[in-house]
Symmetry: C2
Subunit: 315 residues, 2 copies
């Protein structure tokens, strides 16, 4: 029992990040059933799709689960209404300003965590009244901050200035990394990439297979002149990189990006022309596993690491 397990009433301080195109009700409920906290990623959903996923998730698990809401889309109001109406008890917000929705969510008995990538936004989130902070480092997949601060540096930096529960994200796909994150000051972790390559994720099988083939150095933070996003270095990425190296501005990059690239790659399985959002830890993911297998191996490796570190001191 620690601050995160008691805040969310879960068994393990392990949260599955809400990810576009990958984390629907099936993944979220599986994670919650396995003792973690599953999050439905609403960023890629129409309001009615989210409603359906919440209803299915409630049927699939008696355990707490939540919804991730990026605060940058026009339909955020609609999504928040559905979340409240459906009685969801946990919301993770990301991007955007946490001031706008935190009070309303909390008035409705919802626990709120907000994802940040620097100290400034961590303080703003605390000021907005959130219950927990997710500190997400540069190595994380998908959208990322502009400061490029890594988990190793970001977590202690934020720990030093906030008192509320802290969740580390970015670069965590193993039990030893969970243990390291806790040594740095985190109370729990949010894991994305490892769960994308799970049986229960809604990522396309071709995307999952591409993750297994991705090695050390196989991803890069891209599209920094728009919104920075960590992508697998496929053909689409290379085209963006060439344009960026030649000095392409935001308009030109928007034209190359077009619409629906993330869906194309991650959900429809076009691994050459789609955006494939994944973290640096893809280089350590070699098998698609069930959520139950993933959680068990994380817990076992955590405890093995803890046992190995016992009595360690320098003198």
């Amino acid at each position: 029992m620690n601050k995160i397990t008691s805040l969310f009433n879960i068994k393990y301080p392990i949260i599955q990040g809400g990810m576009i195109w990958c984390s629907g009700w099936e993944l979220a409920s599986a994670v919650s059933n396995a003792g973690g906290l599953g999050l439905i990623g609403s960023g890629s959903m129409y309001p009615e799709t989210l409603e359906e996923h919440i209803r299915k998730c409630k049927k699939a698990t008696p355990k707490p689960f939540g919804v991730n809401v990026p605060l940058i889309y026009p339909q955020t109001d609609e999504l928040v209404k559905i979340i409240i109406r459906e009685g969801v008890k946990i919301v993770f917000t990301s991007a955007g300003n946490p001031k706008k929705y935190t009070a309303r969510l909390k008035e409705n008995g919802i626990r709120v965590a907000h994802v940040v990538a620097n100290t400034k936004f961590a303080l703003k989130a605390v000021e907005a009244g959130v219950d927990a902070i997710v500190a997400e480092g540069f190595e994380a997949g998908g959208h990322n901050g502009i400061d490029e601060t890594t988990t190793m540096v970001l977590v202690p930096m934020i720990r030093d200035i906030i008192d509320i529960p802290l969740i580390a994200a970015g670069g965590i796909a193993s039990g030893r990394a969970i243990y390291a994150a806790m040594a740095l000051g985190a109370d729990g972790v949010q894991i994305g990439s490892r769960f994308v390559a799970s049986r229960e994720s809604s990522a396309h099988e071709s995307f999952k297979k591409t993750i297994l083939q991705t090695g050390d150095g196989g991803t890069q933070l891209s599209l920094k002149k728009l919104v920075p996003v960590r992508l697998i270095k496929n053909e689409f990425f290379q085209r963006v990189r060439q344009a960026e190296a030649a000095g392409a501005g935001p308009e030109e990059l928007k034209a190359i990006l077009g619409r629906g690239r993330a869906k194309l790659g991650m959900f429809e399985g076009n691994t050459t022309e789609g955006e494939l959002e994944i973290g640096q830890v893809a280089g350590m993911i070699d098998h698609v596993l069930t959520v139950q297998e993933i959680i068990q191996s994380l817990v076992n490796e955590f405890n093995k690491t803890a046992a190995g570190m016992e009595k360690l001191h320098i003198d």
Copy 2:
């Protein structure tokens, strides 16, 4: 006693990174006297300067110390000759190919460690016969790899494929970060930035002061089309950034860089026009301390972290 302390015959598994313009005999001997391993950074030295620093270092400490040698300069042969002739017992090589000098150094009874930023070069270094690997993450100051893999991801990745002692570098300036690095699989750590802002470092006082003022997000990996280097975002950096954003190629960047920028900023104290190489942890460095104070606080915080983590397990 662990693999790193016994390999180098030191008290603490803490190595001070050999850095251009900052780590001469005064810093290296202070670190060795305090129980760590001090390294003279030969990257900014003429052969006769290195000889002088080695001789002064021998007089200043009876403890083991070493020299860092970047393998990319034309005078490397000269530097290696001096190191052997002066009886230095430890060499850390970085950049370049470890095959060329490792055998010769080892024939002369020298322990050799090599700095890498990805798994491929870690395996090459093992093949070359080095005694230890330094795995340096993206968050580190100064020159860096092209893969941008962070310490959190790089250390376990390399741990999984090598059996020889492993030293983590990048993002480490506190005892909890040392503890986290060890949880990730490292046997010891190499610390640069924290020692730049020490009394004994030869960094210019204005550079040290600028480090104290550098906050979260105050550095960025720059000049990626030449050799990637993490710099403080000063006026010189901004000029490079603008040129890069506009698509400047290597030749144009070389012209902007000119010669002697690192010396100008780090040694001569021109903090607006010089290159200021420092890691992301600059954001957590608020005081210039003596080496003795730094080492003691690292050790104390390490042991405090270890005590706090004791009995931690999830079930």
